[in-house]
């Protein structure tokens, strides 16, 4: 009987092995499938007289082969990092396409606008040339606005995707929780539920692509999943949720990821997210996009401030003082949603050349003092410079070319404000003038050589720009008197310096100050003066079109703005586009490199994992042959046993 048992057991066992091989072959292309193998065991023998007699073969278990927790974890975490970088890179590429090169670039429009003043300078009485200036500035302003709006749209789609990612994370967490439940229930049977384990591993890999997770295995076979280091997304058979909300500060642009467990909600700080698509999206929306908009907006802010100042320093074709050429919405601070006070903050540009491409966070340390933190590098302002420690300062303050003041309301300690002057400028930049006559091409200052001068010195030109908000109408003309051929004195209230060394053909700097407003005057004389020669610098009479008809002094000064050092102490206004895109370019380039690098790492980790755990069809074919033969041998053995029995029975016939 024992021989018959051995034979049938061998038959069924080998059949079972063949079944598992079939299962492997069937799942050769199933993602996340780990090959299985039947572990065989000899049935312990029985002592019968002379020795132990084996009782055949039996199945010990069906085990997953090649499953390596370490390789799996490495594959998951590298894939998570790759997903973050790939997502960020993909969005940055979208943004990059908004900043083309060559003839279609923002730089071309900028230079077209600035160079258009050349024709006004050549022919200030030509209204066509003036119209071209307005048109070119309009084209530039609308391109800046349009580029800003497009970046906003890209940000909006990234926010939508982040919402989708959060939903996917919640779905996966729920699925992992139910598989945990199923695994815990069969845990008692002793045999590993291989396919459930594979399924759970696959869900965790998918979850890792969305957001970086860490896992911890419990005794009951369940796997707990944590996000952001220690927040339990799945605990046994219980799943929590992630949620995307508007950030407290700058909420119409920035995102806040929240962890929701029952009725409690925690904000997850951005650096804690680790990796995964969600990290890539949050980084893009909260950092890359905000920074790009600040870089674009700085150009708008600096350009409008510089050009408007020069406009105010000239006279238009009707002889009136020039009005602003470009218009921005007022620069105000955005209050955090949780502010208890109702203070209002407003900014003005104090020095266009000192502007930084950054936003700022203002926090009230008390009802009257604030700390100012720069968003781009996290540095704090201490009243004179930037450092690492927060200093409470009383408003108003001037930093990075901006003057910040509280314009109303009362603050409560802890109130926070977000300042984004550059982005607001890019959003709202418009041409304010409607008529070509309103361009201030004419200079406001007139020069006259004194009657009776005996020297040969003559005026060559004068340019003036107002430093403050308004032109402080010099009430008194300045009289320049040469006390010697090499020196002249300046007399006139508000004029400085009192004495100037004469440099023929070179601009000599004078200033006129009236209260808070200062006019910087550059004067050029040439030729040899004689002692006693006088020159007067006075203002043209206002509202007389005849005075300004052929005067292009201010247009010339406007042209000189092209070469003004404007951005980061090194980039001129006409090269301003370089300052806009160079930051973005290095970010895209960096994202590209990191994306390629992390993808290679992920591929490598996945290759190592898959090559261990995946099905090899040749191997299965070999094992198929092996166990087919074993099955055939078992059948042959059964036949032999049967024929032994037959022989035995035949002897009794």
């Amino acid at each position: 009987m024992s021989a018959l048992n051995i034979a049938t057991r061998a038959l069924t066992t080998n059949q079972a092995v063949l079944q598992v091989i079939g299962h492997n072959i069937a799942n050769a292309n199933t993602e996340g499938y780990t090959r299985q193998r039947v572990e065989l065991q000899a049935v312990p023998g029985q002592q019968l007289g002379g020795g132990y007699f084996g009782k055949g073969v039996q199945i010990e278990t069906v085990a997953r082969i090649g499953y390596d927790a370490f390789l799996t974890r490495e594959s998951n975490s590298t894939r998570s990092a790759a997903a973050a970088e790939a997502t960020r890179y993909q969005y940055l590429q979208n943004v990059e396409s908004l900043f083309p090169l060559g003839t279609g670039s923002l730089g071309t429009l900028l230079n077209n606008a600035l160079n258009a003043w050349v024709d006004v300078a050549s022919s200030p009485n030509d209204s066509t040339a003036r119209q071209v200036v307005l048109d070119q500035f309009d084209a530039l302003a609308s391109r800046i606005r349009d580029t800003f709006e497009r970046t906003q749209e890209i940000g909006a789609s990234a926010r939508l995707q982040a919402d989708g990612v959060a939903k996917e994370v919640n779905r996966l967490a729920q699925a992992i929780a139910s598989i945990n439940d199923a695994i815990a229930r069969v845990q008692g049977s002793g045999a590993p539920p291989n396919d459930l384990l594979d399924q759970r591993d696959r869900l965790i890999a998918q979850l890792g692509e969305q957001v970086q997770v860490t896992t911890l295995r419990a005794d009951d076979g369940t796997l707990s999943v944590f996000v952001a280091g220690s927040l339990p997304l799945v605990l046994g058979s219980q799943a929590s949720q992630l949620r995307i909300d508007r950030a407290d500060l700058d909420g119409d642009r920035q995102l806040q990821v929240q962890f929701v467990q029952g009725s409690s909600v925690y904000d997850i700080p951005e650096p804690f997210l680790g990796a995964g698509k969600l990290k890539g999206l949050v980084d893009f929306v909260n950092d890359d996009l905000v920074q790009t908009q600040a870089e674009l907006g700085r150009l708008a802010l600096a350009l409008s401030e510089t050009v408007n100042r020069q406009q105010r320093s000239g006279l238009n074709a009707r002889g009136e003082p020039g009005a602003d050429l470009l218009n921005l919405s007022p620069l105000t601070g955005t209050a955090a949603t949780g502010n208890a006070g109702n203070a209002q903050l407003a900014m003005t540009v104090a020095d266009a050349a000192a502007l930084k491409a950054s936003d700022y966070v203002v926090t009230y340390a008390s009802a009257t003092t604030v700390t100012v933190q720069r968003a781009s590098d996290g540095a704090y302002f201490d009243g004179t410079q930037w450092g690492t420690t927060a200093t409470a300062l009383a408003l108003p303050q001037t930093f990075d070319g901006l003057s910040l003041a509280q314009t109303g309301g009362a603050a409560v300690a802890g109130d926070r404000f977000y300042l984004r002057p550059a982005a607001d400028a890019a959003r709202s930049l418009r041409v304010a003038l409607a008529s070509p006559a309103e361009l201030a091409a004419a200079s406001r200052l007139s020069m006259q050589a004194g009657v009776g001068n005996t020297g040969q010195a003559a005026f060559q030109g004068v340019s003036a720009v107002v430093d403050g908000a308004a032109w402080p109408s010099p009430p008194q003309a300045a009289t320049l008197t040469f006390v010697a051929p090499g020196t002249f004195n300046i007399t006139g209230t508000g004029w400085a310096p009192a004495s100037v060394a004469y440099q023929p053909g070179q601009p000599m700097a004078l200033t006129f100050t009236d209260g808070v407003n200062t006019v910087q005057v550059d004067l050029v004389l040439r030729g040899a003066p004689a002692a006693g020669d006088t020159f007067t610098l006075s203002e043209f009479p206002l509202n007389d079109p005849n005075v300004v008809r052929y005067n292009a002094g201010n247009a010339q000064t406007m042209l000189a703005l092209r070469d003004r050092q404007m951005f980061d102490d090194s980039v001129t206004l006409s090269d301003g586009y370089v300052a806009v895109f160079s930051g973005l370019a290095s970010r895209v380039n960096e994202a590209k490199t990191r994306s390629a690098f992390t993808q290679a790492q992920a591929d490598d980790a996945e290759r190592r994992r898959a090559n261990q755990a995946g099905v090899n069809l040749d191997e299965e074919a070999a094992r198929l042959l092996q166990f087919q033969q074993a099955y055939q041998a078992s059948a042959k053995y059964l036949q032999t046993v049967q024929s032994i029995f037959d022989t035995l029975i035949a002897t009794f016939r």
């Binding site: 199933t30 020069m447 050589a449 290759r607 090899n616 069809l617």
Partner: protein, 331 residues
Amino acid sequence: MSNYRVSTAYSYDGTINRLQQRQTELAEQQDKLSSGKRVRRVSDDPAAAALAEREQARTQRIQSDQRALEASRRSLELAESTLGTITDLYQRAKELIVRGGNGALSASDRQTIAEELDGLRERILELANTKDTLGRPLFMGLGLNAAVAGPDQAFVEGSVPPSGNPLYGGDGRIVQWKGLSGQVAATQSALPLGLDGLAIFGESPATGPDAGAGFSSVWEALDRAIFALRDPAMTPGDFRLNLEQASVEMGNRLDALMSARGQLGDWLNRADQMEAAFQERENYHTAQQSELTDLDMLEAISRFQTLQLGYQAGLSSYAQVQRLSLFQYLA
């Protein structure tokens, strides 16, 4: 666990991935070839892109400088031809003054000469007020002086009460300077649009008897001659003195005119040089921009062929390897 193990599914996936990667590279290279650009986006090469944008800005600047230069050149050429005409008129006036001094002339002969000089005076004033194509006085200097009444021109004819001074200025006619004295200098990239007429034609004093050596204009010189020729009561001594003085003044004015023409000739020469220099610089910046962003076709094509070869090799090896399977040998 073995290190020599390949998962069939992964080997397929991996190969497909790699083939796709190659195909992407090939398509990328093809795109570069068809656009002819090495730097199509800023991230392709941020440094080259920044430099190329700068070159683009320079090119645009040169184009605008060229427009300004053309405007200046038109004005300067007009000024030069105007001053050429005026030179002829000066010469003729000098001739007439010399002829007028001939003691054998009758009063009516002198009257005829005075008439012709008067005509020359009118024409010189008209030419000194020449306007460019946009209606701007060519000889106004730095602008127009609002304090002087009169139309928008560099020199305005007016009258003052006749002084009765028999020597000079007795006619009461006066030509006033309405421009702003001063001369814009030529720079490396720009030329002035007009000239300081005061330096060329001189100025009459605004009021009072026209006296003083520093204040004589070409019109005052002519007035002096005309006044003398028309006044039969003038003593021969005064008559000779006036004509001599007028002749000397005309000589001075002619010198000023010639030096202005010399200056103009120099500027027009410089305009030609500047234009050539602009052209050269524009070519240079365009070449630089092209060097920074354009593709080296030879290198690109050879790289394209390498990529193509690699892709072909990948495809054919994939086709061969995927035929190998133990199952093929199981009957």
